[in-house]
């Protein structure tokens, strides 16, 4: 696999040279490969949002480098806009960025800035709306007439419409109802599958991350503490608990059963996996046939 984003000794300090100086990201180095689905977890204030905002040059690292396709994104500060089209960024509560008269025009804002022609824009808008499950009948409405969840979809569509090579989502499901969360999450997974683009998802829900991510970045107090396959990360439940995180509920139950002496696999991520692991065990012990 080829690397798409490479972070080298990345640091960021808020309010540099003021009394309110605050180190939000401290010496982070890692490599993200093309097509991976990366989860980012960490306690509140651990620097997740700050970290991902450096990936597309919205904030400039105070130290270190971000390499996109092997090139420092800040090598030529004039070209930073091009990077923003390649690394799409969906913020926390993105619905507050809507501004156009119609949803259609709002989704078209990104592609328009890229200098695409009318046909390409139309195509991009429709595809993005479809991907995020936004009904085509909503496109001619004012974005301010939509419900909260629809606004969220419209805002996410506005970023997807730029067809970025890397899609970064900062807590896209925060504040949605349980069904809405699940649907949105599956749509993101679907997007990742169909286009085989790289996706980076920041989330506080361990269940969600366990379900969708190939690899996990764990941040704690501005430091990178783990960057590994999902299974490896969640098999270190005790370490995660020390930094105020937890593993998915079913993983925890299985972990505790294992500690009681039952012969179970190291880390179980979903209920389905737990079911098959448990029925295997019961079969082996002759309790069921």
């Amino acid at each position: 696999m080829s690397s798409i984003l490479e972070l080298k000794n990345l640091s960021f300090v808020y309010g540099l040279k003021t009394p309110f100086e605050k180190k939000a990201v401290d010496n982070v180095s890692l490599t993200i490969n093309r097509g991976e689905f990366i989860g980012v977890i960490g306690h509140t204030g651990s620097g997740k949002s700050t970290l991902v905002q450096m990936l597309n040059g919205l904030i400039k690292p105070t130290d270190g480098q971000v390499l996109f396709d092997g090139e420092d994104i800040w090598k030529n500060p004039k070209d930073i806009r091009k990077i923003r089209f390649k690394v799409g960024m969906v913020f926390q509560y993105p619905e507050y960025q809507l501004f156009e008269e119609t949803v259609y025009k709002d989704i078209a804002f990104g592609p328009l800035n890229m200098g695409k022609n009318a046909d390409e824009i139309d195509n991009a808008v429709r595809r993005a709306a479809e991907f995020t499950g936004l009904g085509l009948n909503l496109l001619q409405k004012s974005p301010f007439e939509l419900s909260g969840g629809e606004k969220r979809r419209a805002a996410i569509a506005g970023v997807i419409a730029m067809d970025p090579e890397v899609l970064v989502l900062d807590e896209p499901t925060a504040g949605l109802d349980p069904v809405g969360r699940d649907v949105l999450l599956s749509q993101i997974v679907q997007y990742h599958k169909n286009r085989s683009n790289t996706v980076i998802l920041v989330s506080h829900s361990m269940e969600d991350i366990a379900r969708v991510a190939d690899k996990i970045i764990v941040m704690n107090k501005s430091h990178l503490v783990m960057f590994d396959k999902t299974r490896e990360v969640f098999s270190r439940g005790r370490d995660l608990e020390k930094i105020g995180l937890r593993v998915p509920q079913v993983t925890k139950i299985m972990l505790e059963l294992k500690e009681q002496g039952f012969e179970l696999p190291d880390s179980v991520l979903t209920v389905d996996e737990a079911f098959s692991a448990l029925s295997d065990l019961l079969k082996k012990e002759g309790k069921i046939w």
Partner: protein, 270 residues
């Protein structure tokens, strides 16, 4: 970013000036601002300058921040002093076509520079050492007599404190919205004036929408807590004049007398 401006910021602390009654601070500041413009010769100007330096020293806020607040007005100072330089009366010391510089012009330029700097530093001293709530509270109490002529003092003060309260919130919001639009390729730093003005639309509209939303929210929250205007409300924090305020008044009065005496003894240079 937008937040880097020092002017109008508050630094909490326990210095002599911090602990003055905010009402006293406002009145003394007004007196001082008047006196700045009554200094007509170098001796009185010196007294005014010394007083300004004392304010900085007694405020317990690092001079660094006073310099920062001056940065904002460097332009204004330069323009006004250059204009004054050429507008002097009397014998020209130097002349080139219609431009002439006179001794009076030089004096004027110097005076206007020192005056503006003192004015900004003294006002910064007030905002640096007084929290916005204290400030609006003091203004409300100072304007109370206006209630007699049915001037809505309390409402105005409440509006002021709400507005002040939301300045940082809206700045933060602006930062966020700007970042979100930049992420969609909004280009705010290039192009001609019209293009730049247009580039503001994607920022201003969400900002207005959120300002209205917040206004409704806060109105509802206030009503839920039975807010019904100013009559009969008591204060959580009441301030009293103390010895300290007396000392500050005496110092300021001495300064004013000094300036007046200097003005009488020495001839005016502007």
């Amino acid at each position: 970013m937008v937040r880097d401006v020092a002017f109008g910021q508050y630094f909490s602390g326990k210095s002599f000036i911090h602990r003055l009654d905010p009402r006293a601070k406002i009145l003394l500041l007004i007196a001082f601002l008047v006196i700045i413009f009554c200094a007509f010769n170098y001796f009185s100007l010196l007294i005014v300058t010394i007083f300004t330096v004392l304010c900085v020293a007694f405020s317990g806020v690092s001079p660094k921040f006073y310099f920062k607040s001056l940065k904002v007005i460097v332009f204004i100072v330069i323009i006004t002093s250059v204009l004054n330089l050429f507008y002097g009366t009397g014998e020209p010391l130097w002349q080139w076509s219609i431009f002439k510089i006179t001794a009076n012009g030089i004096n004027r330029a110097l005076f206007v520079t020192v005056r503006i700097i003192c004015l900004i530093i003294a006002s910064s001293c007030l905002t640096f050492t007084t929290s916005p709530t204290e400030l609006t509270d003091a203004i409300e109490r100072l304007m109370k007599p206006l209630n007699k002529i049915h001037f809505p003092v309390h409402e105005i003060a409440m509006m002021m404190s709400l507005a002040l309260r939301f300045v940082p919130t809206l700045l933060e919001e602006t930062d966020k919205i700007m970042a979100a639009q930049k992420a969609r390729g909004a280009d705010m730093d290039s192009g001609n004036l019209v293009k730049r003005a247009k580039a503001l639309i994607p920022i201003l509209i969400p900002l207005f929408v959120s300002a209205f939303r917040r206004a409704y929210d806060i109105a509802t929250a206030m009503e839920c807590r039975c807010y019904r205007g100013g009559s009969g409300r008591t204060k959580m924090k009441t301030v009293h004049m103390s010895m300290r305020d007396g000392a500050a008044c005496i110092l300021t009065t001495l300064m004013i007398i000094g300036v007046i005496v200097c003005n009488l003894i020495f001839t005016a240079v502007i």
